[in-house]
């Protein structure tokens, strides 16, 4: 199975902002941060439907997420994951002397992962 090359962006969304205020144990929070927003062309080229799971792998880690078609990503080749433990599986620990890791623009590969479940936050934590 082949994946597509993308750049990963992470960032704030209103749902994530609301979810974190509802509580980090809440279902609202978990579902707001365990998604992979994608351009519809990218979804098509993976031969999946929006809502099915994808696996994103970077040089620093890998994470399974639920795909979401986003009209904010107007061009293929970029995916967006809300701030949180899921997105962070993919990022590098180096800061280039700036103190700040690169939370936007990490190269990664997205593959179809229809059969693989999205892990719970507890599962991700136990892996730490």
């Amino acid at each position: 199975m082949t994946g597509i090359k993308v750049k990963v962006l992470s960032g704030r969304t209103l749902r994530q902002g609301v979810g974190k205020e509802a509580g980090k144990n809440s279902e609202r929070y978990r579902t707001s941060v365990s998604i992979c927003e994608m351009n519809s062309e990218d979804i098509t080229s993976l031969s999946i439907k929006a809502g099915e799971n994808v696996k994103v792998t970077s040089a620093h880690g890998s994470v399974v997420l639920k795909s979401v078609s986003s009209n904010q990503l107007t061009k293929p080749g970029m995916i967006f994951i809300p701030y949180g433990l899921y997105a962070n599986q993919l990022f590098n620990e180096t800061t280039g002397g700036s103190g700040m890791p690169t939370f936007k623009g990490e190269p990664a590969v997205v593959e179809s992962a229809i059969e693989e479940p999205v892990k719970t936050l507890e599962e991700l934590i136990t892996e730490i």
Partner: protein
């Protein structure tokens, strides 16, 4: 029912202070004027409390007394050679003051969420300076608003209504008198609401800023496109910037968390400075947590430095990239971490989280988080701006008073009080030793 007027919202850096909160039987039942994030916090903050102080024993967190937690925390901090104290963006200024004193006492490093949000923006001030102002200035005067890598609509839902695009000021009567341009890699909700959206290629902010500065100086850009944007469009944008009456750039983590980091901000600050030769132009960061700016303010007046303050030598030292939390943990130098009201485990790269939990980890937090779940010591605290009062600083540096709306649970207290107890215990232990 008791109604509190002019309540300051303890969620994002907008620090909206017009919230009307209704309290019935010590429970918040309504929060008028608040946005979705604010309302959710006011109505749900109490849903996910940490039930008791806890200490991890054989890998399992067990309820203990507060005193045991304080003692254990103090022991860890006194024993540590290079402890980290991190967080505080959701605490009152008064709590921050105690945290600085505690860091001084234990000879550690105080860092804050600034490190992973607007740190590069702060470094830009050291490099270039900043032409900025209070948010009311924007509301009264701005006819051109640029949101650059800042998704105001989602991160700061009331920003436009209160301070920027759609707000009504003395000289601008709402959005028909203003021009909103969004420069971003995604067509965000903010971009969709804008008069113009300029989509640039990811990671090319620095190139684009410098092309814009070149165009502003009426020099020829020696390319057809920069960051995916045709040169003619860049020249047109330069003309728009130059010819406004009063412009402002709001920048977000879209420019601070990408390649270039502080250099991007140097570029934006230089661009803004340059524009003041043509017209009036300001710039300001759209800060996230409600008191992240307050931590920078207090730390700066008490220690001279805004974040990443190394007090291990006895005097304050600051060198972002060296004294910042990610870098210290990556180098494996710290030997304990005290987290106050923050969730670094959810927000740091996993390699850092992995290393952080190899040394003792203490969490002071009102609610569960990924970090409290893995901490060796967990101390429940109260919510600033809901259960205890104090001061906080808005994203433009304006100080506002947080209110106490309801009584805190019997087994919690403010971060300020918890930290004071730890400090007292640390001093006691140091004397004994």
């Amino acid at each position: 029912m008791e109604i509190f007027q002019d309540v300051v919202c303890p969620v994002c850096g907008c620090l909206c202070d017009d919230i009307e909160v209704s309290v019935e039987n010590n429970k918040i039942v309504k929060a008028r004027n608040a946005c979705a994030m604010g309302t959710t916090k006011f109505l749900n903050y109490n849903n996910d409390r940490i039930p008791s102080p806890m200490i991890k024993n054989n890998g399992v967190q067990k309820p203990v007394s507060l005193e045991e937690c304080i003692e254990k925390t103090a022991e860890i901090l006194v024993k540590a050679k290079y402890p980290l104290i991190y967080g505080l963006s959701l605490s009152s200024v008064e709590s921050v003051k105690v945290a600085i004193e505690l860091t001084e006492e234990v000879g550690g490093v105080l860092d804050n969420q600034t490190s992973v949000c607007h740190g590069p923006g702060v470094q830009g001030i050291h490099d270039i300076g900043e032409s900025t102002g209070s948010l009311g200035e924007i509301r009264h005067r701005a006819d051109l608003i640029i949101a650059w890598g800042a998704n105001l609509q989602e991160a700061h839902p009331r920003h436009m209504e209160r301070y920027s695009y759609t707000s009504k000021g003395r000289y601008r009567n709402g959005k028909e008198d203003r021009n909103l341009i969004v420069i971003d890699v995604r067509e965000t909700l903010t971009a969709k609401a804008a008069d113009k959206f300029i989509q640039i290629e990811q990671g090319k902010d620095f190139e684009f800023i410098n092309a814009l500065r070149t165009a502003l100086r009426l020099e020829q850009i020696q390319k057809d496109k920069v960051a995916g944007v045709p040169v003619e469009e860049i020249e047109k944008l330069a003309e728009v910037l130059r010819s406004c009456e009063f412009g402002v750039i709001f920048f977000g983590q879209g420019v601070t968390q990408v390649n270039g980091k502080g250099r991007n901000i140097d570029g934006l600050f230089s661009l803004t400075r340059d524009l003041n030769s043509w017209t009036k132009f300001l710039i300001m960061p759209a800060r996230g947590h409600f008191n992240v700016a307050g931590v920078n303010q207090v730390a700066t007046w008490q220690t001279g430095f805004p974040y990443a303050i190394d007090l291990s030598r006895g005097y304050p030292w600051y060198n972002p990239g060296e004294t910042t939390i990610i870098d210290i943990i990556r180098r494996g130098e710290s030997d304990a971490t005290l987290v106050v009201g923050s969730d670094p485990i959810a927000h740091f790269p996993p390699a850092i989280s992995k290393r952080m939990i190899t040394t003792p980890l203490i969490s002071i937090d009102p609610a569960h988080s990924m970090t409290t779940m893995v901490s060796d010591v967990v101390i429940p605290s109260s919510f600033a701006g809901i259960e205890y009062e104090g001061l906080a600083y808005r994203m433009d540096g304006l100080c506002l008073p947080l209110k106490k709306l309801v009584k805190e649970p019997d087994n919690t207290m403010s971060d300020e009080k918890v930290l004071k107890m730890i400090l007292a215990k640390v001093r006691e232990l140091k004397k004994v030793n």
